[in-house]
Amino acid sequence: MAKKQVALGSVVKLGTGAAGALETHGQVASVNPPSRERARVEGDALEDLLSVPGSGIESVSEFTFEQFHDMGDDLQEKVDDEFEDQEPIACELSKGDEFTWTFNAKVMNISSESGDANSYYRRTVTMVRTGAITRT
């Protein structure tokens, strides 16, 4: 039976390792899993009694995560490398034995927040999904 899941303990892995191996990226403050949406194909016939759209192609969706930004960290620098490479990499969002979502995506946006004396450097990484989501 379904239960509420606290996000604490969730793990973000990206294929930034050798040969695209998944590596755990830490200091993630929040995560927004990729959404799912299909295009709606309108096509009402004269004999239809209810306007039900057809299911079209799946729309592109984004996977975003906000992390505390350590600009000197080699692993976090790899996200910037992937932004420059513009190639899809493997992504995994999981929480222990509860769930694992895997999909491919490419880094499309790295948005940094301003930092003052009392705050931490943060950035939001936005990745665009390039393939299907495998859910286990």
Partner: protein
């Protein structure tokens, strides 16, 4: 029958540094006069602030706020016990005989009034405070 209080007490005693400082002296409810120091007193309040449409009576409270007081005649001792508890922020896993998805440890509110003093105590005592927010507690099997 498992109870949250028993599980939370067992969890406190299992945390690094806590039993070294207070031994087995972790209490909820009343504290008798003459209780050796330092000791920990705690009290929990239960809430389910985010309800699902199919929630039914009888399920375990999903958010339990626990006021924790470390009481001693020595200020540094009370602070050391409270700090040992604060180091457990973001804990997740076994909670005594049960489990929880998270324990968040925060500072207590400024207007909090300690309630764990021994009955009839009139000596100056020092209190280290912490507020534990336990999420998704599930008791163990009976």
């Amino acid at each position: 029958m498992p109870s949250f209080e028993a599980d939370f007490r067992a969890w406190l005693l299992a945390q690094p540094g806590v039993s070294d400082l207070v031994g087995e002296r972790v209490h909820f409810g009343r504290v008798d006069q003459g209780m050796p120091m330092p000791y920990i007193w705690f009290s929990g309040s239960f809430s389910n602030r985010e309800r699902a449409l199919d929630d039914e009576p009888g399920k375990h409270p999903e958010e339990i706020t626990v006021d924790v007081e470390a009481i001693s005649t020595d200020a540094q001792e009370a602070l050391a016990v409270a700090n040992a508890i604060r180091m457990r922020d973001s804990y997740r896993g076994p909670l005594g005989g049960g489990t929880c998805q998270a324990v968040f440890v925060e500072d207590q509110s400024d207007d909090y009034i300690p309630r764990g003093m021994p009955i009839g105590a009139d000596d100056g005592l020092f209190v280290g405070l912490a507020r534990c927010d336990v999420r998704m507690y599930v008791p163990g099997e009976e």
